[in-house]
């Protein structure tokens, strides 16, 4: 190792991603400095911005993120597993039916998200304008938002993890049938990770009336 550093940079160079992030940072910095130096720095107020959003908006965003991220995780896992599964199934057709369980494990992740979204949306109800800014309503909005985000992110990584293990399971099973159960155990542990998010999401949203 260590001998190939000479030409490494010729393939890399400055990537457009880095360029964009530099530009964005400079732009934001300029706007921020302008506001600060012209005496209008007060306008940049995160707390006020958050409070100015309706609690309904927060709850609905939580529900959307919950189901959206979960489905993205499940879909991601299914394509990782599926691509390997169809390929491995060409030479060893016997594995295909058995390994559909990996697909189901990924699918379960989407169902977690769906269940949680249903639980959350049951807590929504219309209120009159006067009471919408009450602390109770804000609590409800924030609780549902963060519960949704927790569940969604947990399910996203859980789906990816199950998908990668599932793809390995399919390939391992194609080489040696005895390995299937062993890799499946690992896969089950991966899919349990998603349950943790589900539990925390339930606890956080549980106190909402």
């Amino acid at each position: 190792m260590g001998a190939y550093s000479t030409r490494d940079s010729s393939y890399g160079g400055t990537s457009p991603m880095a360029l964009y992030s530099y530009l964005t940072l400079t732009g934001l910095g300029l706007v921020g400095l302008y506001m600060l130096l012209t005496g209008s720095g007060e306008q940049f107020n995160v707390g006020e911005f958050i409070m100015s959003i309706s609690p309904h908006q927060w709850s609905l965003m939580g529900i959307a993120l919950c189901v959206g991220l979960s489905v993205a995780g499940a879909a991601w896992g299914i394509f990782i597993t599926g691509a390997s599964l169809v390929g491995a199934g060409v030479h060893a057709p016997r594995i295909v039916t058995k390994n559909l369980i990996s697909i189901i494990f990924c699918e379960v992740v989407a169902i977690y998200g769906l269940i949680m979204a249903i639980v959350f949306s049951a807590k929504l109800k219309d209120v009159q304008d006067a009471t919408i800014t009450s602390s109770e309503m804000y609590y409800k909005g924030f609780a549902l938002f963060w519960a949704g985000l927790t569940t969604g992110l947990c399910n996203l990584v859980c789906g990816v993890s199950v998908g990668i293990t599932g793809s390995s399971a399919a390939l391992a099973d194609a080489q040696d049938g005895q390995l299937f159960v062993k890799v499946l155990v690992i896969e089950i542990f991966g899919s349990i990770v998603g349950l943790f998010g589900l539990i925390v999401g339930l606890l956080v949203s549980g106190k909402v009336a």
């Binding site: 691509a83 390929g87 491995a88 060893a92 390939l171």
Partner: protein, 347 residues
């Protein structure tokens, strides 16, 4: 991270290659093959493997025909892989074929030098390294002409930049051209595979570094007692590999096999190549030991997922398998049963 996106483009074809890998003959098949008495038995044994249908309609068996059929199967599989590959993988696979292109170019030039029949030469070219303008190679008489008329349009063109100084095409220069080309190719392929990062870079670096070291060692050993000067020899060593730079410098100054051995002694993996090869010369040649280590490295690349090195390894293992089958059937047809076990087991 590569696990997240690898399967979108290459998951299917990776799994296909793993399927092909599982059809590589294992130890039991080799033991059965070595028990064979005639080529007809070999054919029966191979019929139980993936080669089965391939040999079905052949009535007249010979070793060269067997090798040809096995190679056809490999090419067919490689073309299937190549047809399913998309952007970076397809380029990676193309890189793999450049090695065969170099071999073909050298074969054609050498053949023309010895005034062989063009068609006969074209038949002997490796099918993976075929390119359109190949027949035109036979008319060239010097390197500049060769480059300007034919090779400038092939992917090999950039590798030729170091060879253009050679004037005449004689036996010695062709050998130098071959090694200079290979050096440039290996380096290019190495940096290309490093640009992927992750496991692809990791495994390919190991494989290509060994390939480079093997070439350096072979060049050194073969140049003993020839008119190749030490300076010229040093120019042919690839500038990658574990022997680079210090080992290559020592190799360039070596005068006999003992000095080569001393150079390799500091590398644990390379030390074994020279262990006892002088005392019990009959057991294994240096070439066999190189192949054995190559098989070991290539086997290892199947133990990781989501990388490109396994396409390279598959091709190399399959080539080794063809060499094994040819060796065994050659031993059978020539009645040299005592040397039949000198094949290199793969799995």
């Amino acid at each position: 991270m590569e696990a997240l996106f690898f399967n979108a483009d290459d998951g299917y074809i990776e799994a296909i290659v793993r399927g092909y890998r599982s059809s590589i003959l294992n130890n039991t098949s080799y033991i059965n093959l070595t028990q064979c008495e005639t080529l007809e038995d070999v054919k029966l044994q191979l019929a139980a493997s993936d080669y089965g249908t391939l040999l079905q309609n052949e009535s007249h068996l010979s070793t060269s025909m067997l090798a040809q059929k096995c190679l056809d199967k490999l090419v067919q599989e490689f073309e299937y892989i190549r047809a399913h590959a998309v952007a970076p993988l397809s380029q990676f696979l193309d890189y793999m074929t450049y090695a065969y292109m170099i071999d073909n170019v050298i074969l054609l030039i050498t053949g023309t030098l010895h005034e062989r029949d063009t068609h006969e030469l074209l038949d002997r070219c490796h099918p993976l390294g075929v390119f359109d303008s190949m027949p035109a190679l036979c008319v060239a008489t010097n390197v500049a002409e060769l480059y300007n008329s034919v090779l400038v349009e092939t992917p090999l063109a950039p590798y030729f930049k170091d060879c253009l100084s050679a004037e005449d095409l004689d036996e010695m220069n062709i050998e130098i051209i071959r090694n200079t080309l290979y050096k440039a190719y290996l380096e290019d392929f190495y940096y290309f595979s490093q640009s992927f990062g992750g496991p692809t870079a990791e495994i390919m670096s190991e494989l290509l570094q060994f390939e480079a070291d093997r070439r350096s060692l072979n060049i050194t050993i073969n140049s003993f007692g020839t008119e190749l000067t030490k300076d010229d020899r040093a120019k042919l060593f690839p500038s990658i590999g574990r022997l680079y730079p210090e080992g290559n410098l020592k190799l360039a100054k070596s005068d006999d096999i003992d000095q080569v051995k001393a150079t390799c002694d500091v590398f644990l993996e390379y030390r074994q190549f020279f262990d006892g090869s002088s005392s019990t010369g009959a057991s294994k040649t240096l070439e066999d030991r190189f192949f054995e280590y190559e098989v070991h490295l290539n086997k290892k690349s199947f133990q990781q997922q989501f990388h490109y090195a396994l396409f390279y390894s598959f091709l190399k293992l399959k080539e080794q398998e063809i060499r094994n089958i040819v060796w065994i059937s050659e031993c059978i047809s020539q009645g040299q049963k005592e040397r039949i076990n000198n094949y290199i087991p793969i799995f």
